[in-house]
Symmetry: C2
Subunit: 270 residues, 2 copies
């Protein structure tokens, strides 16, 4: 039986590829298993071990972090001083989007689903404001409160009701980066997205993207984020579960927002 796949950090035990030697550390798509047999090596990145936690190579420096970087810089076309809204803002992607936006000189507000996450956004991740969407009976009113002059950039990780509310609060020539649609409303067959007429009146650009289209920018991203991390200008919150046996519950927890920050499973210690 083939193991479920997922991004992981691994140590090479044995290899007949001269590019990978026993003891090398690599990140890439491996199995939910303690030992993996890798036949294709193209998607593996070699890791230089330094003072960056190894787990960051599947989050901050992996697909999640690079999604944040490519989405914010290449899709959102940010300008200094613009107003940025991030949903699922404490998640694996959102937390870096917000920090990059702050470093870029933007005003940044994030939404999340618990008061603990809101606290992290404001006090650890440096967002200007944050709110718990579950405590807001009217998302449109909530966004009007945090963005009285409107939103220039909406980095959308959820779709659904929040996207509908954001559409009503976008500024002229606003941009919406469509990164995820995990809300139950987006996945439901019965409910579509209202308020798309705002796209015309406000001349909004709404763009879906995948990080895999921007891999040529990965080296620049890596250098930028590592440098900012080492200077203490970027932090990264992880939710670490211990042992392969914790993986199924951790995966399910993602869909109810149980995780705080990037969900990681520790299969082995160094």
């Amino acid at each position: 039986m083939k193991a479920i796949q997922g991004f992981g950090v691994s140590k090479v035990v044995d290899s007949d590829d001269p590019d990978f030697k026993p003891g090398d550390l690599v990140s890439g798509l491996t199995g939910w298993e303690e030992f993996s047999l890798m036949r294709k090596h193209e998607q593996l990145r070699r890791i230089q071990q330094d003072d960056i936690p190894l787990s960051y190579h599947v989050g901050l420096l992996g697909m999640a972090g690079f999604t944040a970087y490519a989405g914010f810089y290449e899709v959102c076309s940010p300008e200094i001083g613009e107003k940025v809204f991030v949903s699922a803002a404490s998640g694996a992607v959102g937390q870096l989007v917000g920090q990059l936006a702050k470093l870029h000189g933007c005003y940044v507000v994030g939404s999340a689903g618990t008061s603990q996450k809101v606290d992290i956004l404001k006090n650890k991740l440096g967002f200007d404001q944050a709110f718990n969407y579950k405590e807001e009976p009217d998302l449109n009113a909530a966004l009007k409160r945090y963005f009285p002059e409107g939103i220039d950039i909406y980095f959308d990780n959820v779709g659904g009701d929040m996207l509908e509310a954001a559409l009503l609060n976008m500024r002229i020539h606003g941009r919406i980066a469509v990164c995820g649609m995990v809300s139950s409303n987006s996945l439901s067959v019965s409910k579509g997205i209202h308020n798309l007429f705002s796209l015309i009146a406000k001349r909004i650009r709404m763009q879906g993207f995948l990080q895999s289209d921007y891999l040529h920018l990965y080296p620049r991203f890596f250098e930028n984020v590592v440098s900012n991390y080492k200077q203490g200008k970027i932090v990264y919150i992880e939710d670490m579960s211990e042992g392969l046996e914790s993986a199924p519950a951790a995966l399910v927890g993602l869909f109810s927002g149980k995780n705080v920050g990037k969900q990681v499973i520790r299969v082995a210690r160094e």
Copy 2:
């Protein structure tokens, strides 16, 4: 009482502005009336009379035509050989979008609401294919039939069910220019747009726009379209009603698709 406003072609009867002399022809926002008092002249364009029908200055060379031009070239980023779908394709905007796309070397399919309009699209306007959406029980299947390899560019004049079907048939890196949402489904409060998850998987750019953002391109547009018209490479279909008294019925007719081509009201003859 103030007259309803609309774009029109007028002859100057009297003027205290040295830029406009009696006898000059102008196009711009005037009233639904036989004589208009214009206090602001910034939005008036002087018309050079030649062998172009005067009425074309409110359609082909007016807001509708310029919307088609700006939307197609500036929003859709067309490449030679791409597959283009236009809804409300025989309308004031759609008919020029299709012809510009053909001139650009694209494959172009249009949808319209009567067999007469479909015939015009195929036999007068040079679309590669056209279909009557009212005779298609399954719009997704219809688009799959005309675009077996998918749609690169969707110029959306209607929203609603057609937008949902187009989202399912877009190619990777496709573009959707959101120009109008006149379908009853788009205007309905109860129904939103499904299938927006396609934006992510296919990395689609969906962009609303207004021609007024591109006025610096108007001279280039005018020269391009006039030149193509004079060479017989562009035609323009109008639906001319006679007399101011026909205007209310003509306006209402737009919402049921009664007009064939650009709806124009002839208030006076030269």
